[in-house]
């Protein structure tokens, strides 16, 4: 039931947006940007991007789903923390250079404060056997979550016969040979990107 009206809404918005630039439902000021992104930063564990989407598109309606996807495109294309990049983009869009500073600062300030408190606690009690045991336990599940994430990303790869070998080469170079990552990434990107360029040309 709830899916239907929203999809109709999306189609309507699309046709409107081709005719004229879509009007944002509200134009956040610096305070709203700071608070909005603070809430996003504090709400997620292990990645906050889904929360950013919910806040921007569904709750505050600062952008439509299409606009969100377009802007996220560059954030994911460039390296670096995607959600920080996204905060810069949204901040710039509504409040220029100041917004581009305030939004990512809002995103990071709260979690940064918490993480520093945890660091203080670690410095004080981290050498206790109980704390060491607990952190070891968390590291073990964290490691499992990383393997699962790699598996999921790997199964989502397109054109596996052509691209999976580059995954294997990256693991060999980084985890086994311990080569410096900047060199591995430049070489890998030239090779893998080259194959992708060639494959794209054949279609």
């Amino acid at each position: 039931m709830p899916g239907r009206p929203s999809s109709v809404w999306k189609i309507k918005r699309k046709t409107v947006s081709t005719a004229a630039a879509p009007q944002p439902q509200s134009r956040p000021d610096l305070r709203a940007l700071f608070l909005g992104f603070s809430a996003v930063g504090l709400s997620g564990f292990g990645g906050v991007l889904p929360f950013a989407r919910r806040m921007l598109v569904e709750q505050k309606r600062w952008m439509s789903a299409d606009e969100f996807n377009t802007q996220l495109g560059l954030c994911q294309f460039l390296p670096g923390p995607n959600v920080v990049n996204l905060a810069v983009v949204v901040g710039k869009r509504y409040q220029g250079a100041l917004g581009a500073i305030v939004a990512p600062v809002g995103l990071l300030a709260g979690p940064l404060f918490i993480v520093l408190l945890l660091a203080l606690a670690y410095d004080r009690w981290g050498s206790l056997p109980l704390a060491q045991g607990m952190l070891r336990g968390i590291a073990a599940v964290g490691c499992g979550l990383l393997f699962a994430m790699a598996w999921r990303m790997g199964t989502a790869l397109k054109d596996k016969p052509f691209f999976l070998p580059f995954t294997v080469l990256t693991v060999a170079a980084i985890a086994w040979l311990r080569w410096p990552m900047p060199i591995v990434m430049i070489a890998g990107l030239l090779l893998s990107g080259g194959v992708a360029y060639w494959r794209l040309g054949r279609k």
Partner: protein, 173 residues
């Protein structure tokens, strides 16, 4: 140069190859911070990774913790800024032109080409944590169970963290 300054330069360089975010950078951060500079040891490095896992916020904050342990508040801020600032500036300058080059053949090729590398980096990050923490059979059992459970259910990651913490507190890992 101060340690915080060195940290800033090292991490700013890394931010240019951080495809897949901070998670993908774990092996390289370990190489720089533990193996090259001996700023931290293996145990501390895995502990900081665990703390970052258990804290709310973007994944990038593991960098803040590493900076803190190496050079206090100046280190924490230097490391975090170094990881975020270069790409933030670049994206600020590029976003208005994004539509003019998104969808071009070279842009698609880079996106397609970088994906398999990012998978390899995340996988390497997982093996690195296992190595640095010197997991025994009990820890590997937990790792395997987490992988299977995470791939088969939609349980919130915090539940895994809680179970891991409890098992660890009980001295089982």
């Amino acid at each position: 140069m101060s340690v915080a300054g060195e940290l800033f330069l090292e991490f700013a360089l890394l931010s240019f190859v951080a495809f897949g975010g901070a998670t993908a950078l774990l092996p390289e951060m370990h190489r720089v911070v533990v193996e090259n500079h001996h700023w931290l040891d293996d145990t501390t490095f895995t502990h900081l990774y665990a703390i970052a896992q258990a804290a709310p916020g973007p994944n990038v904050l593991v960098v803040t913790l590493i900076g803190w342990e190496i050079a206090g508040l100046a280190g924490a801020l230097a490391a975090t800024l170094a990881m975020c600032l270069p790409m933030s500036i670049l994206i600020y300058l590029l976003i208005d032109r994004w539509e003019s080059f998104s969808g071009k053949r070279w842009q698609k090729a880079v996106s397609l080409g970088v994906a398999p590398l990012a998978v390899g980096l995340v996988f390497s990050g997982a093996t690195l944590i296992a190595q640095a923490a010197q997991f025994g059979w009990a820890a590997w059992t937990v790792v395997a169970a987490t992988v299977v459970a995470n791939l088969r259910s939609k349980l919130h990651p915090l539940w895994y963290i809680a179970v891991g913490a409890a098992l660890g507190l009980g001295g089982l890992i």
